[in-house]
């Protein structure tokens, strides 16, 4: 395993076709309304070829990039998250019966999905969601059903957005786990390497032959250069302690003055898992669906208990989000809740940047 092969760009269509024939719904980044999101693709032409993204805090634009470059767009707001942990889905259907009711699970019967063009940070994020939905004390049936048969074609990052900091979070830019096949895009083709038996089989099906040393070296060089040029960084040294100790740092209030409490950061974060479950009941009162929807620690309802709100102020909620993400997550799940994808920075309408907030708290630590 792990032997690098050479894959011509034209073989991508072949890959998509094979996956389609094998029963997968093939998904890839598709440009729409000025950004990209994973959507169904039928051929490589559906991908944002020759386009690159320009990202900054609170700003995202697509613009012409390099001719023929297939994976020039780093990412958009949509990660893998919505495809496994759905933004809204019914879990139970509860029917009233003559005496009482009966609760039935709603099975989601979608075909398995294959994702093409997944970045290392998103694979890392999926592994984190696996911890929550599959490897904790309880397993989430809906998540598991979609997760178990998925196929992943990763793409190593040879270019980062200015908002990226996967190097700091040790999740990229090279895909190291969680994929079936990983591609590095070179000007003239891909270097492909398998990450699973299914990936190895796919290399055979595609008829790829071993890559030359030069190609491998070129791929490495591009990835290394991307790592060196990473737009942002975050000093993670002893972060949990820092954030716990600085729970009353004045910076929380300062950032809260800018924070809209709109929850965009948590919605785009590929690891955030908060959700709410509500009843959607037919008007005749005979059937109720228990529906799960993404929730956010920025909503007021999130910490409401009868008679009190435990996090009434925006600074309480901002601190909850950041402290959970970067600190208590480690206590809970053994890894940081941040993979350094930079989405929360780009998609915050107010342009709040967590790396800057952490740096500011670090700089003023102990002085509050």
């Amino acid at each position: 395993m792990n032997e690098a092969t050479r894959m011509p760009k034209a073989a991508l269509d072949n890959l998509i076709a094979i996956l389609g024939r094998e029963g997968y719904r093939v998904m890839g980044p598709v440009a729409r309304d000025g950004t990209v999101a994973f959507d169904e693709i039928r051929s490589a032409a559906d991908l944002p070829v020759g386009i690159r993204d320009a990202q900054e805090a609170g700003r995202y634009r697509l613009a012409p990039g390099i001719d023929g470059e297939i994976f020039g767009v780093v990412n958009g707001a949509g990660s893998l998250k919505p495809h496994f942990f759905a933004p809204a889905e019914p879990l139970l259907e509860i029917r009233r019966e003559r005496r009482g009711f009966k609760a039935n699970e709603i099975a989601s019967a979608a075909p398995p999905h294959a994702f093409i063009g997944v970045r290392a940070c998103d694979l890392a994020a999926l592994a984190i969601q696996d911890r929550i939905f599959l490897h904790d004390r309880f397993r989430d049936a809906h998540y598991e059903l979609r997760r178990k048969d998925a196929f992943f074609v990763a793409v190593d990052c040879t270019r980062s957005a200015p908002t990226c900091f996967c190097v700091s979070m040790k999740t990229g830019p090279r895909a190291t786990a969680g994929f079936d096949l990983a591609l590095t895009e070179l000007p003239g083709g891909f270097v492909a390497r398998p990450g699973s038996p299914a990936g190895e089989a796919m290399i055979v099906k595609l008829g790829l032959s071993a890559a030359g040393g030069a190609d491998e070296a070129a791929a490495r060089a591009l990835i290394d250069e991307c790592a060196r040029g990473m737009g942002r960084r975050m000093d993670t040294a002893d972060l949990p302690r820092l954030l716990y100790d600085e729970a009353e740092n004045p910076r929380w209030r300062e950032v809260a003055a800018r924070c809209l409490s709109c929850a965009n950061c948590t919605m785009v974060c590929p690891t955030c898992f908060c959700h709410t479950v509500i009843d959607q009941t037919e008007i005749d009162g005979n059937m109720s669906r228990r529906v799960r929807k993404w929730d956010s620690c920025f909503s007021l309802e999130h910490a409401h208990i009868h008679g009190i709100n435990l996090r009434p102020k925006i600074h309480d909620r901002y601190r909850q989000w950041l402290t959970h993400k970067l600190a208590s997550w480690i206590d809970q799940f053994g890894s940081s809740g941040c993979v350094g994808c930079g989405r929360c920075i780009t998609w915050c309408p107010a342009g709040i940047d967590l790396t800057e907030e952490v740096a500011a708290i670090r700089a003023s630590a102990g002085k509050g």
Binding site: S261, S299, E301
Partner: protein
């Protein structure tokens, strides 16, 4: 006995009560659960109160209506307002910043025939309101959910969070971030399903303010986007312009001018 339901109208466009009729099959099912005894738009025979559940559409804009709403309250066990007019005074509350005499004279040849108050005010400024459904118009699904909850004898709940949450759940491209266009989503209450961003435009706030909002930061964001002060003021002083956080924010912008 089935609960007695009434639908009242004050100053409004009828769009919210129309949602009952738009409910189609669900309206017929509702009729099996409750007696809709007063609903002039849909039913010829109007039965007198008391009512178990009253839906009130529209704002109070005339002296007669200011008296009528008190009667409605007295006749109703549980009073739910429907829509932006009833919850915030509606678009017609723009008169609250104007000289009503001028309005009246400017537009009617015989202004003395027109009986009107100088303000358009939400129902809650006149009587106790048990629950408010926001939106211009209200969302049909929310209307049915609230009604169902009340039929179960439970206090209704609707989300109070921002439109952004719905916007991201629907996978829309954020118009602020991708286009630099102003959008009221971050300070607006969810409920519409993030309709405007889905239609490729900024939200104009027809569901009123989200319960967690930061108007100061939002005003700063508009300014950063290059929205002129008077334009920003108009955006906030819209369909729900008279509701407190937006009113104050717009007034502050107007004062700066």
């Amino acid at each position: 006995m089935k609960p007695r339901v009434a639908v009242f109208k004050f100053a409004s466009c009828d769009g919210c009560q129309l949602q009952f009729l738009n409910a189609g099959d669900e309206l017929l099912k509702l009729a099996g659960q409750a007696d809709i005894v007063y609903f002039p738009e849909a039913r010829g025979r109007a039965l007198a109160g008391p009512y178990d559940l009253a839906f009130v559409e529209g704002s109070v804009t005339t002296p007669a209506d200011a008296r009528r709403i008190i009667e409605v309250r007295e006749e109703s066990r549980y009073l739910v307002t429907i829509g932006a007019c009833a919850a915030a005074g509606g678009i017609q509350a723009l008169r609250n910043w104007a000289d009503i005499e001028q309005y009246r004279r400017a537009v009617y040849p015989s202004p003395e025939f027109i009986s009107t108050l100088s303000t358009s005010t939400p129902i809650s400024e006149h009587v106790r309101v048990d629950f408010e459904i926001w939106g211009c118009p209200i969302d049909k699904t929310q209307l049915l959910a609230v009604t169902r909850s009340l039929l179960f004898g439970a206090q209704p709940v609707l989300p109070g969070h921002s439109v952004c949450i719905e916007c991201k759940r629907s996978g829309n491209a954020c118009v602020i971030v991708t286009r630099g266009e102003p959008c009221l989503g971050p300070v607006t209450r969810a409920g519409c399903g993030a309709l405007c961003p889905a239609m490729n435009r900024g939200c104009y706030g027809c569901f009123g303010p989200a319960d967690a909002h930061n108007m100061e930061s939002f005003a700063a964001l508009l300014a950063d986007q290059g929205v002129r002060g008077d334009d920003a003021m108009r955006r906030l002083r819209g369909i729900n312009g008279y509701v407190r956080p937006w009113r104050e924010s717009a007034d502050a912008l107007a004062a700066k001018k």
